[in-house]
């Protein structure tokens, strides 16, 4: 994300006076970040190695019990499903938004932005109501005769995945739309002139050229999904618990700070690892 804002201009024209003591300007924000972000996160990580006894015991517990391993597999499974579904659904929408007449695409964008900025709890509540056993979706399917008894769509991975795709979709549509809109149309015209049919142009030209957008959006959704708390906690159940919920429970209900800290560290390490992967990928792409 750091790459989305451009860097300051390096040395303006002429002998421009440099800002005197730039560190004084960043100091207030830096103090805030250091005291209330870096210090507490480091303290939590240290506790994961010290409580209740010094050593790697917490990590052994975390990776040694089937309960916790289940939480890890749920987390990665949901993140994977949500990412895959969001990309497949989001790509055609981003494509359409990139090439529709501006008047239309502006209106459609407004709908996406409104959905994105609607309170997260309000949106999750909507899905809790829609997906419940007596909810509209089950009732409609039953009255159409498609099912005989209500499907259990909530308190499990299905519910979590539906609710999360709903929340994550804008995060693939918006960046991907920008990438597709910036593709030079003459490249596709050239492909057509050289005899490529629509399918060939799609698979061999449009898709590869959209790949940076797809990768960036997909990684962002995957990373966000891994650490998501609210939607899994409300739409999921005991058997579909994800990592963020586990961390909250270990710390708040069970007061196991060491184990909770270890789980937080695992989440943090995976998130940062994927984030650096994305930065390197973007650099490599730009450097081509």
């Amino acid at each position: 994300m750091a790459s989305s804002i451009s860097t300051g201009r390096a040395g303006g024209p002429g002998a421009r006076k440099r800002l005197s003591g730039p560190l004084a300007y960043v100091a207030p924000a830096l103090v805030l970040i250091a005291l209330f972000f870096i210090v507490p996160v480091l303290m939590l990580l240290v506790r994961s190695f010290l409580e209740p006894t010094p050593g790697l015991e917490n990590y052994a517990t975390l990776f040694g019990s089937t309960t916790y391993l289940n939480v890890f597999s749920n987390t990665f499974l949901v993140a994977f499903i949500v990412t895959a579904v969001s990309v497949v659904i989001g790509f055609p929408v981003a494509w359409a938004l990139a090439i529709l007449p501006k008047r239309w695409s502006m209106f459609l964008l407004a709908v996406i932005v409104l959905s994105m900025w609607t309170n997260l709890l309000a949106r999750t509540y909507a899905w809790m109501v829609l997906l419940q056993r007596t909810g509209v979706i089950n009732k409609t399917l039953m009255s159409l005769g498609l099912i005989d008894s209500p499907l259990s769509l909530v308190n499990n991975i299905t519910g979590v995945s539906i609710g999360m795709v709903y929340i994550m979709l804008p995060f693939i549509i918006l960046p991907l739309m920008g990438v597709i809109a910036s593709i030079d149309a003459s490249v596709l015209r050239a492909a057509a002139l050289c005899g490529a049919n629509k399918w060939q142009s799609f698979v061999r030209v449009l898709l590869p050229l959209s790949l940076p957008g797809i990768t960036a959006g997909a990684l962002m959704i995957f990373v966000m999904s891994l650490g998501y708390f609210v939607t899994p906690a409300l739409l999921g159940g005991a058997s579909s618990m994800m990592l963020a919920e586990l961390i909250a429970q270990l710390v708040q209900s069970l007061v196991k700070w060491g184990l909770g800290g270890a789980a937080a560290f695992v989440l943090l390490a995976v998130t940062l690892g994927l984030y650096f992967l994305q930065l390197r990928y973007l650099d490599a792409y730009k450097g081509r």
Binding site: M1, A2, S4, S6, G8, L19, P22, L23, Y25, V26, P28, A29, L32, I33, F36, F37, P40, V41, L44, I89, P92, V93, W95, A96, I99, L108, I112, V113, S115, W117, T118, N119, L120, L121, A122, Y125, M128, V129, T134, Y166, P170, A185, L188, R189, A192, K198, L206, Y228, F229, V230, L234, A244, A248, Q252, G260, G261, A264, L267, L268, L272
Partner: protein, 267 residues
């Protein structure tokens, strides 16, 4: 011609229909909740048997809802002011200062935005328990400021990028002090960036729920925490009423400035 809408042929009907369906998927649940908030069914039956305002009455007759909303408002207002001021200073330093590690510092400032909020929430909770800041307004403000500041820095940095600094230099040549020039020339020129920073900072705090769950106490709750604790018990239609009001407010906050700005441009 996959990038020319008029020459897509049959494919364009598929794209249009698919996009239409996805947008319905995005917008219908919100409309659905708004409709249910006026429905008479306690069990949220749709379509509602009859229409009523009783959930709104119940909402406004319970002082706790109003109280938590005011708490949210107060915290979001303080966070907005601090976030814009700190964001402006930090952006000035980052954009104009030349020092080693500037880009690393910029990345550090944006990190709270990409890290899982739950990690930050648990870590801050541990620290605040020790400092006695858990369950206090100060604790809430610090927590929300951490997630609001990246939005502020991005908006203001972008605005500063687009601002021609020689205007500020001219004011200084004409005798203004550096701060006089900044406040009288730079601040008005980047007001759109500052405004965007304020809106995003406000929304980041107003809508924030994960940090708030950990920062709250039985006596100090924000509106999202109140919704959260209510939803953990049952799916009362009162939450539909709150949600509808929140959607309406978001709509006003996002689209009224857009329309207003467009008018200004058209004039």
């Amino acid at each position: 011609m996959l990038l020319d809408f008029n020459r897509l042929g049959a494919l364009r009907y598929f794209l249009l229909a698919f996009t239409g369906l996805v947008l319905l998927f995005l917008i219908l649940p919100i409309v659905f909740i708004a409709a249910l908030s006026f429905g008479s069914s306690q069990w949220l039956i749709f379509p509602p048997p009859s229409w009523t305002l009783k959930w709104y009455q119940e909402l406004f007759s319970d002082p706790r809802w109003l109280y938590t909303a005011l708490t949210s408002l107060k915290i979001a207002a303080i966070v907005t002011v601090l976030s814009v001021v700190l964001g402006f200073l930090a952006s000035l330093g980052l954009n104009r200062g030349e020092f080693a590690g500037r880009e690393q510092l910029r990345a550090l400032f944006l990190t709270p935005m990409i890290l899982p909020v739950i990690v930050l929430a648990v870590a801050l909770y541990a620290l605040f328990l020790r400092l006695g800041l858990a369950g206090t307004t100060v604790g809430f403000v610090i927590a929300h400021l951490l997630v609001a500041l990246p939005f502020s820095i991005i908006s203001i940095s972008n605005a500063l990028e687009g601002f021609d600094r020689s205007i500020e230099d001219a004011a200084i040549l004409c005798g203004a002090s550096p701060w006089e020039a900044r406040i009288k020339i730079t601040v008005p020129s980047i007001r759109h960036g500052l405004f965007t920073a304020a809106v995003f900072s406000f929304l980041a705090s107003w809508d924030e729920v994960v940090l708030a769950i950990f920062m709250s106490s039985p006596t100090l709750q924000t509106l999202p925490v109140k919704i959260w604790t209510t939803l953990r018990q049952d799916l009362t239609p009162v939450v539909a009423a709150v949600s509808t009001i929140l959607v309406a407010l978001t709509f006003l906050l996002i689209f009224v400035p857009l329309v207003f700005r467009k008018r200004q441009k058209d004039d």
